[in-house]
């Protein structure tokens, strides 16, 4: 290998965390000007690997070569100075600060001991224009959408004139067409000569962008492949270590009576005139852009926020939901989008998490906790969803994303009066293996006659699992497609069309 071919090369890198080897002699080669995908299940060591490259973690063993020269980063600063910038999975923005402040954090333009705000604002404007961003440098980051925050992060990476940009699951919180925007940006960067490392669970990302892909599994390097030469199945096998025969095990279910209906529900600023219905045994997908109001509708159904108007019926009876407890009592169970912040109490044991919603039911006299009953019950449901855990007292934080999601499912199953399950992005950030298991559970639930609402931005999942698909755009339901008529094109069209026409009206 010559100096010119690889801009970045890592050899035999080992990183040890208390109790675990997070990386075990992994290697990696990045060519100049290429987009290189890095794939693997959660916990395979991708994120740790990225942090070694960016100097956040110091590796115990191994060598890193930048443009052929060996480098040792003592901290993130060194990596930044060397031209490596990263956009992390969870946007690492400063929510209380402006876009400009965020972009230039750590490398402000300083002249004569003074930060040059004017110059920085102008430069930020320029960067945002280059990315076709629709927000201002003076906007506060906390008020922006996740996609916009991600764009700011990319602008930040660009502002350092980085030679290597690392994108850690940038599309995880983006919808299809937002992803498309991102693809364009990445293409543009590559054309400008920037080398890019791209981590993603989505195969579409990889096919669309990358020329080569490196796979990690269980903290080890498995292999590097040319994207156009490897099949989907082989790649999955490389990642999971076994073959997955049927990704979307959609069972044949006799769809029953209507059990759930939303009528003309509105909440100012979030959604308007939303009507949705669900039948027993039916999986109803809801998709659309992030910010289209999908999650917000379901939160209002479950009493987390208050809708301004509209009615909700469960099994023909109108519900009066004021707080989450009310909807749960009625039999509606929500699996929230963010496991770590909404779904679980990470510092708690699994068992306690599972029984939290039903603790009153289990308690003696409704007051005193019945630990024996609780433990038995949580054991039963955790085993039912096949959680990888030793005891029910393991803290939820010790599990991987997929297993955490299983705990959330167990928590839902434990609610014995459940009639309707609402799953908000059930496979977000979940690796391939666990994804299949979650789909299987979903199928089982449908078979048992529960109604299921699945909010998702992932097209294959929506197409693979739903009986019907509602598409939302800008707070309104723009269409409802049967399984037979749902295609990627139609859904995409519905999720954008309405917005465009609305915007036109607003201009007039």
């Amino acid at each position: 290998m010559s100096d010119s071919e690889f801009i970045l090369e890592l050899k035999d890198v080992t990183k040890i965390f208390p109790g675990v080897k997070a990386l075990n002699k992994v290697r990696f080669q990045l060519k100049r000007g290429e987009v290189h995908a890095l794939m693997g299940e959660n916990g395979a060591g991708k994120s740790t690997f990225i942090k070694v490259i960016t100097g956040v973690h110091a590796a115990e063993e191994g060598h890193m070569y930048l443009e052929g020269k060996e480098v040792h980063f003592r901290g993130p600063k060194d990596a930044l100075d060397a031209g490596i910038a990263a956009v992390y999975q969870h946007p690492t923005t400063y929510p209380t600060l402006s876009v400009t402040e965020n972009i230039f954090m750590g490398h402000e333009i300083i002249r004569g001991g003074m930060i040059q705000w004017k110059e920085m604002n102008a430069k930020a404007r320029e960067l945002l224009d280059r990315l076709h961003a629709n927000f201002k440098p003076s906007d506060e980051i906390g008020a922006l959408s996740v996609a916009q925050q991600q764009m700011t992060e990319i602008a930040k990476a660009l502002s350092t004139n980085a030679k290597i940009i690392i994108l850690d699951e940038p599309t995880a919180s983006l919808t299809s067409n937002e992803s498309e925007e991102l693809y364009k940006i990445v293409d543009q960067l590559r054309d400008e000569g920037v080398s890019i490392i791209f981590i993603s669970h989505r195969f579409e990302d990889m096919y669309r962008l990358a020329t080569r892909v490196t796979v990690f599994r269980d903290s080890q390097y498995i292999g590097t492949y040319d994207v156009d030469k490897i099949t989907n199945a082989d790649l999955i096998k490389a990642m999971v270590g076994r073959e997955i025969s049927d990704m979307y095990p959609k069972p044949e279910v006799n769809i029953g009576e209507e059990i759930f209906r939303i009528e003309n529900m509105s909440r100012t600023g979030f959604f308007k005139d939303v009507s949705i219905n669900v039948h027993a045994g039916e999986i109803v997908g809801i998709t659309g852009l992030v910010g289209a109001g999908r999650t917000e509708v379901m939160e209002s159904v479950c009493g987390i926020t208050k809708p301004d108007s509209g009615r909700v019926f469960l099994e023909g009876k109108q519900l009066n939901v004021k707080k989450p407890e009310d909807s749960m009592k009625a039999g509606i169970v929500l699996l929230p989008e963010n496991r770590s912040t909404e779904g679980l109490i990470l510092s708690w044991g699994l068992g306690r998490n599972v029984t939290l919603p039903i603790q009153k039911k289990l308690a003696k006299g409704g007051i005193f906790n019945d630990l024996r009953k609780e433990n038995a019950l949580s054991k039963k449901f955790l085993e039912e969803v096949d959680t990888k855990a030793v005891t029910i007292f393991d803290p939820a934080s010790s599990l991987s994303g997929g297993n955490q999601q299983k705990v959330v499912v167990a928590k839902a199953l434990a609610q014995d009066n459940m009639k309707l399950v609402i799953m908000d992005e059930p496979t977000k950030g979940v690796d391939v293996g666990a994804k299949a298991e979650i789909y299987a559970i979903m199928g089982e639930l449908a078979k048992k006659g529960f109604g299921i609402i699945m909010i998702s931005s992932e097209m294959p999942e929506i197409l693979g699992m739903s009986d019907r698909v509602y598409v939302m755009c800008n707070g309104r339901v723009t269409g409802c497609l049967d399984r037979s008529e749902a295609t990627q094109e139609r859904i995409l069209k519905l999720s954008m069309e309405q917005g465009k026409s609305d915007r036109k009206e607003a201009v007039q």
């Binding site: 965390f17 109790g19 989450p324 407890e325 109490i345 603790q359 990888k388 298991e437 299987a440």
Partner: protein
């Protein structure tokens, strides 16, 4: 169900004596014994009877340790309690001096505390955007301010009908002060509620992750409100008993109590960040600090020096988990390598 691998998850927790000892509470019990030995060595007057006699003033504060633990477990803080003690003490005197019968006096006192707590609860739950430190800072100033206004120019009020309130400060069998029994009863109730009931579990849930708890159907607003009301009620209790021992109240009554009470809780392992610690720890810690102060006082150690010692102990106590964490990490690193 799907993906059944037949994997079994253990649901039994083995509680050994060793494990118990290595909890923070276990350490506190050891420290409790050590402190008692130390106390006996520095003061000849450190006898059971003397300690029992000196306890009541500290025990009045112990009333507030109990609900403060709830508030801290919630991840909140209430720095207005000292002022509530002042206000309830003041009003108690005025109510009695106006000729009210004793039950009315007690009701008035506890009711005032309850109202103050409800005020705090209302403000904090209506404006969840505001940290409780700020809202209770405001009410701290207001409650004491109201007491100051009602005390007027003289700045103090006496409980003229001392015979009436005497029952609260008497000693059963001439040795056991009534207040000890009341504190013990309250401690048992508060401990059971926090550690064994759904309400207690809800408090921990909110303190650990407010959003998750809310999504899981915990009524966050109600739980927080109840905790503040209990806090106010027990501050009223403290005010009542303090009045029984001082036959009056003035503008400095209860000054600085909030910090002492919080210190006891934190020393007992109840983190100010919420979701951690048990009331058992808080109570033992409260006793340790109390006994230490009594013994140091008997040894005629400078009163300011006693506060320095308490402050230093507090800092050492909160540093230990961090130091221990570092040790554990190092050990695990070595094991992995």
């Amino acid at each position: 169900m799907a993906g059944k691998s037949g994997r079994s998850i253990k649901a039994e927790e083995k509680l050994t004596a060793k494990k118990l000892l290595f909890t923070w509470e276990g350490a506190l019990i050891l420290l409790f014994i050590a402190v008692n030995i130390f106390n006996m060595s520095i003061s000849q007057s450190y006898t059971f009877a003397n300690v029992l006699r000196e306890m009541p003033k500290y025990l009045a504060e112990m009333f507030m340790v109990l609900p403060m633990a709830y508030i801290l477990v919630l991840g909140d803080i209430d720095i207005s309690v000292g002022s509530i003690v002042c206000l309830t003490g003041t009003l108690t005197c005025y109510i009695s001096n106006a000729g009210a019968p004793f039950p009315v006096v007690i009701l008035g006192c506890l009711g005032t505390g309850l109202l103050c707590g409800a005020f705090n609860g209302f403000i904090t739950t209506s404006f969840p955007e505001l940290p409780s430190m700020i809202t209770t800072l405001g009410s701290q100033i207001i409650f004491r301010g109201i007491a100051e206004i009602s005390l007027g120019g003289g700045g103090s009020v006496s409980y003229t009908n001392t015979k009436q309130i005497m029952p609260l400060s008497t000693k059963l069998g001439k040795t056991v002060p009534v207040i000890i029994l009341v504190v013990m009863l309250a401690a048992v109730i508060f401990t059971v509620v926090l550690q064994r009931t759904t309400f207690g579990r809800s408090l921990y849930a909110i303190g650990s992750n407010k959003v998750s708890a809310f999504y899981a159907g915990v009524d966050v607003k109600r739980c927080r409100f109840i905790a503040y009301v209990l806090m106010g009620f027990m501050a009223g209790m403290c005010g009542l008993f303090l009045t029984a021992y001082t036959y009056g109240a003035n503008t400095t009554t209860g000054q600085g109590f909030e910090m002492e009470v919080i210190a006891m809780c934190v020393f007992g392992g109840i983190a100010s960040t919420g979701g951690k610690g048990t009331l058992v720890g808080g109570i033992i810690a409260g006793l340790i600090i109390t006994l230490l102060r009594i013994a140091l006082g008997q040894a005629n150690v400078n009163s300011q020096m006693i506060l320095v010692i308490v402050g230093a102990l507090l800092i050492i106590a909160v540093l230990i988990p961090g130091i221990k964490g570092r040790f554990d990490e190092l050990k695990k690193l070595r094991a992995a390598a």
